[in-house]
């Protein structure tokens, strides 16, 4: 799984719309995902294949149905790449503050 595949998959409004719908309700069939969208079933299928290849969605068979789930792990990886070092500083600042406040006089 590389970041390029994730960014390419995200660089399309229709695919982001599909991810938004899975974010609202995870675990949908192709038919459910197509409902109310101005896209052909074939187009949705194509987008889903690309999203799955980028590991942004996971699928699971349940009986005869294939359910689609949002997989947020690659997005977490992208966020951490640039954000985590700032979070670390905040956490370090907070723990220093806690230590200072709790220090007996």
């Amino acid at each position: 799984m590389n970041d390029d595949a994730v960014f390419r998959a995200l660089a399309d409004a229709s695919r982001r719309r599909l991810l938004d719908r899975l974010h609202e309700t995870s675990g949908q069939t192709l038919s459910e995902l197509c409902e109310g969208l101005n896209m052909s079933r074939q187009a949705v299928t194509k987008h889903l294949v690309l999203l799955e290849a980028a590991n942004l969605i996971a699928t699971r068979r349940q009986g005869r149905e294939k359910l689609h789930y949002l997989n947020p792990v690659p997005i977490q990886g992208i966020a951490e790449r640039w954000i985590s070092k700032f979070q670390q500083q905040q956490l370090a600042a907070l723990s220093a503050l806690k230590a200072a406040l709790e220090k007996p006089d």
């Binding site: 995870s26 996971a58 997989n71 792990v73 951490e80 985590s84 670390q88």
Partner: protein, 154 residues
Amino acid sequence: MAESTFIYVTYIRTTPEKLWQALTDTDFIPQWWMGVRTETDWRVGGPWKLVLTDGRTADTGEVLEFEPPRRLALKWRNEFKPELKAEGWSHCLFELEPQGEAVKLTVTHSIPRDASQLIQAVSGGWPQILSNLKTLVETGKPLIPQRAAETAQA
């Protein structure tokens, strides 16, 4: 049947054996699970427990399946938030599949009820925990060594 499910997938550049070791070595787990400790002897049918950094029990359950290096399933219930505990038992499955140079790790956490608050609560934690596990196994260094356990755990 009504069900709430979340599925998380990550690809980790390692072998199934090494990943299995990282997932089940109770001394190693806190390094990627943000300090949260696991207490179990991994006996199928035996107890399993998650303990927060402050010593509170977060979740308890039972080892349902233990098949190295492929499948680990847990019965899982929150213990410290009454509204989550009331939801009862959830099911958490770890599946490891070799794929080329990497291992595909799939975590499926589900509970047989609609709009589960437990599944909502753990969904905030899993992406970060798995991302941390991936970084630790691939580089030897955890990305986020320790955080307030509550942010990582339901």
